[in-house]
Structure formats: C-alpha cells, structure tokens
Symmetry: C2
Subunit: 305 residues, 2 copies
C-alpha cells in the first residue's frame, strides 16, 4: 500500500508569483482527491502534470478565499474540456450557492453533474466510503467553520498460503474469500484453523490527515492518532504566537506538538504567512519538538508506503 | 499626451501555465484602469510589477468566467493589504451579487468601499468622466450581455504664447485661463484676437477602444472611428469562421476589417482560442486587411503617443 501527496500550493492569503494558496492532490488507492482549491489551482494542476480527468472528489476545508477561489474556474474549465462524470464536492454550507450563482449569472452550462455534500456538523463524520478508502472530517478551530480531512485506506485482503491450505482437504475454493477477509476456518469436527496459519496478513493500511486552517487544538489528537502523514498548518513561528492566537492559526512549534502527541509518522507544515522571507525558522522550530518534519513546497510530492 | 497599455492576459477560456485569460491595465493621464480580470490577474499584476494601490477603477466587459473569475481574489487581497480607498467597478448586472455573496459567506470584511456601477443598457453610455478622461461603453454582440470600453483623453489646455500676448496690453493675467481653454480674446473696441494667434494648440487627445468578446459587428465602427489603438478579439482564424459565428466570437480577418473601416491607428488582436499552437496565422490574416496589426502577448506593453 502507498499513497502520494502533491502540494499544489502551501501559502496563505494573497497568491504571489511563486507562492500558491492551499491546494493538494492525494493519490490513494484508485482515487485522485483534490483538497482545497485556492485561486490558480487549475494552473498548478497543469504545471505539475496532474490529469484533470482523474479528479472526481474535491474536499474544501473552509470558505476563506485562499482555499476555494480557484474552484469555479476549475469547474468551468472541466466543463469546457467536455467532462461528463459527476464531481463530488465536500464543503461547508454556502459553497453550493456561490458556485451555482456564478454558473447561472455567467450562463455557463457545464456538461457534468456536481453533487455537493454540504458540511455543517461539529463532530467528526464519515463523509466518503468505498471498498478502498474512508474519509472523515476533522473538526478544526479557526475564525470560520472549518474541517480537516482524514483519509484512511481500508485493509487489503489477506494473501492465501496455498501450500498450507492444501494440507486441509475440507477447505474448498469457495472458502477462499472468507480466508482472504481474515476469517478462521471451522472444520466439520468443530476444530478451528486460525487464519494466520492459512494466510499472510496484508500490509498495514495507511492514513493521511490534512489539518488547515486551525489554531492549536489538542482535541484533534485522538482523531489523527498514529496517522502515517500529517499536514498541519504552521502559518507563524512562535515569535508571532499572539498573532496566531488572534487569527485562529498555529505556529510551527504547535504543529509539531500535535504531531508528537498524536505519534504520527511524518509531519508536513505549510500555509506560511507572507510576512516571512523564508521558512527555515519554521522548520527548525518544529524539528526541535518533532524531528521528522518537512516544509511543504509548491510542486513537492511525498510518497508514503 | 500618451497612454500605456499592459496586456496581463490575452487568451480565451481555460487558463494555462503560460496563457492567462483576459486582463489589461491602461495607464492614461493620472489613471490606472483595470480592464477585465480573469483568474490569476492579481498574480499577473505582481509579475509585471503594476502597483495594486494605483488601481481605483475596474471595467468588466461581461460575466463569462475568463473575464471576471480573478476579481474576488484580487479584491480580497487588496483588503488584506489594508486598502482603504473606494474601488469603482463598472460591470454587467449580476457581478455585485456574486462578489457580495462570496464576501458574506467567507465572512470577509474588506476595509474599503466598493461602488458598483451595474450596466444593463444596450446603448453606448458615458460611464466615467473626470477632468482628464471619459469612458464610454461600446455595446458588443456576444452570447451574453457584453460591453467594450472606449477611453478618451480630454483635450489638454492650450499653451500660451507669451511673446504674442504681451503685444496686447488689454490682455490681463485673469484672461489667461480662457485663452488656455481655446477662447478668442475680445478687446474693448469689439475687435477679436483669434485664439490661434495667442496660443499653441495642445496635442491631439488620444483614444483607446477595447472590444472583447464580440462577434463581427460593424455597428461599432462609428463609436471607435479614428481611435489611436483598438484591441479587438480574434479568437479564431478564418478557417474556423463558422465556429466564430456559432460562439459569438470574431476571426482575425474580421477584427482587421473593423480596424480598417474605423480607420484606427493600430490594431492589437487577442483572446486566442487554445485550439491553435501559435498565432502567426492570425497575424498574417489580419495584416492582409490592416497592416498595422500586432498580436497581444501576456506581459506585452503598447505605448501610444
């Protein structure tokens, strides 16, 4: 099992020539999920050669412009490019009205359905599930209603050890699927053959948690416990902690504290304020608390396996 | 007198890495006018080093996304950058609702007033005027309600010829302003000294006409007669004329026909469809009809004086 995260934009607020606002693409199992969609996201997708056609699910954390202003343009372009497949959008209530008003006023008829899942709940919810992946909201604490997202692979099937299985004549081909699902085998005399004798377990399913924008919020730790990769916003460094509190953002140290307490595999920090010339201080500050930290960079990819 | 036009984007429909949608900056007299505002316009402004603070008037031709999707992000950025001056926006009815809904839903409080002048008229109207410049709408013919814009310098004052003036003892200092405005001087005996004896005329005021998006529409010719610079869309070449008719656009040849009939000084063609690899054919086709034609290019500037 593995997933690949591509950072399309990792900066906050005003987009600049070399600093795109938040957008990420998560390629996990057979899905290409888009997470947030700041202005220019469609151009970043082209720049980093990510196929438009593969994106069928978009997750929007909150309705500050640097996280969604690129959506209407991207959807319009998908329409111009003759998309027909349904687009599923998971976003706070309000986005549907914004998109629909713009399509209506501009008399734009896009040739594919958009299915909005408008979010209003303050509890973590399962918002997407198929046979491979589950996606949960992670309620965050910002100036406006905001969710992070937890992407969880479902366990693969067990691998059959045919050599062992053939030693038990009662096990028929029709029993294999139950074995793959991890079930023990009960023989006609009532004796049980443990699954681990008959199969090799699948690889551990992977998890990715996206947490932006948010102030320091330890309440999320149980939700993101042991995830393999955590993206946590770190708009400021600790010298601007007061500003972080005032604006509902986090510092690099706070992001690392969350990562450490949640025992995550790796931490990526981003959503940097443009008040900083560079982000070395963010990195050093976070690494003092949680060593396995990296800076997000536009166009950067992280493969977890 | 002179003006400077900077093309921020000159392509149609979907924005690409090196092809920005329509946006232009016209620096004329003491104004910096923004014309259209496709997605990414704020980034183009930064790229081509045009001061955000100087823009106080925005003219939007029509509400197709490639002409206005960059507006909400740009206005939000102006707010984040602590703008306080009023922004005047001239646009088809509907844009105000789109901008206000997004500001409301995102709980964005921008610290400057926006004054919308919503356009609905199908006749050419004077929509802006001060002592230096007039701006008129140019009703265009597209799939949706669309205006071009005609920017006209007002005549400068005449220059006094002091050597001549001093030969007439009746002319006092308090008469100078009337002379500068071009008035003749009437002496006490009723005799008239013609203005051209006493002053040198100012340079001819300049005019710029922006016409995009539009099908071929000879009706606009009287409105743009003799303008010094005409930007006319040329989405297609003549081999795709049927497509131009179907989509409410013009070909390069048609743009040149308009330029020729209106006897303009220079023609710039743009709003190119992304179906073409390059635009040499557009240029050759237009130049056959109107020699003084240039292709718009993102970041290109044209100075007229």
């Amino acid at each position: 099992m593995s997933f690949k995260l591509t950072i399309l934009g990792s900066h906050s607020a005003t987009p600049r020539v070399d600093a795109a606002p938040t957008a990420q693409v998560l390629e996990i199992k057979n899905h290409t999920f888009l997470i947030d969609c700041g202005e220019g996201t469609q151009i970043q997708l082209r720049k980093f050669k990510i196929s438009f056609a593969k994106i069928n699910h978009i997750f929007i954390s909150h309705l500050h412009g640097d996280h969604f202003f690129g959506l209407i343009g991207m959807l319009s372009s998908f329409g111009l490019l003759s998309r027909t497949k349904t687009m599923y959008i998971y976003a706070p209530v309000g986005l549907k009205a914004i998109i629909e008003l713009q399509l209506q006023v501009s008399e734009t008829k896009i040739g594919f359905p958009i299915e909005f899942h408008e979010l209003t709940d303050s509890k973590s919810l399962l918002i997407f599930e198929d046979k491979n992946v589950e996606v949960y909201t992670i309620p965050l604490t910002h100036r406006i209603y905001t969710n992070g997202f937890l992407f969880k692979e479902k366990p693969d099937l067990h691998n059959l050890c045919m050599e062992r299985i053939l030693q038990y004549p009662e096990i028929q081909r029709c029993d294999y699927f139950n074995l793959k699902k991890g079930k023990d085998f009960v023989q006609s005399d009532g004796s049980v053959i443990a699954n681990e004798i008959l199969t090799l377990p699948p690889k551990k399913p992977l998890q990715y948690a996206f947490c932006s924008d948010t102030s320091y919020q330890p309440r999320i730790i149980p939700l993101i416990k042991n995830v393999d990769l955590l993206y946590h916003e770190a708009t400021f460094t600790s010298k601007d902690e007061e500003l972080a509190i005032k604006t509902g953002h986090a510092t690099a140290r706070q992001a690392a504290q969350i990562a450490k307490k949640a025992k995550v595999g790796k931490l990526i920090i981003g959503h940097f304020s443009n008040r900083y010339r560079g982000f070395h201080d963010h990195l050093m500050e976070a690494r003092k608390v949680f060593e396995n930290t990296e800076l997000a960079s536009d166009g950067g990819t992280i493969i977890v396996n």
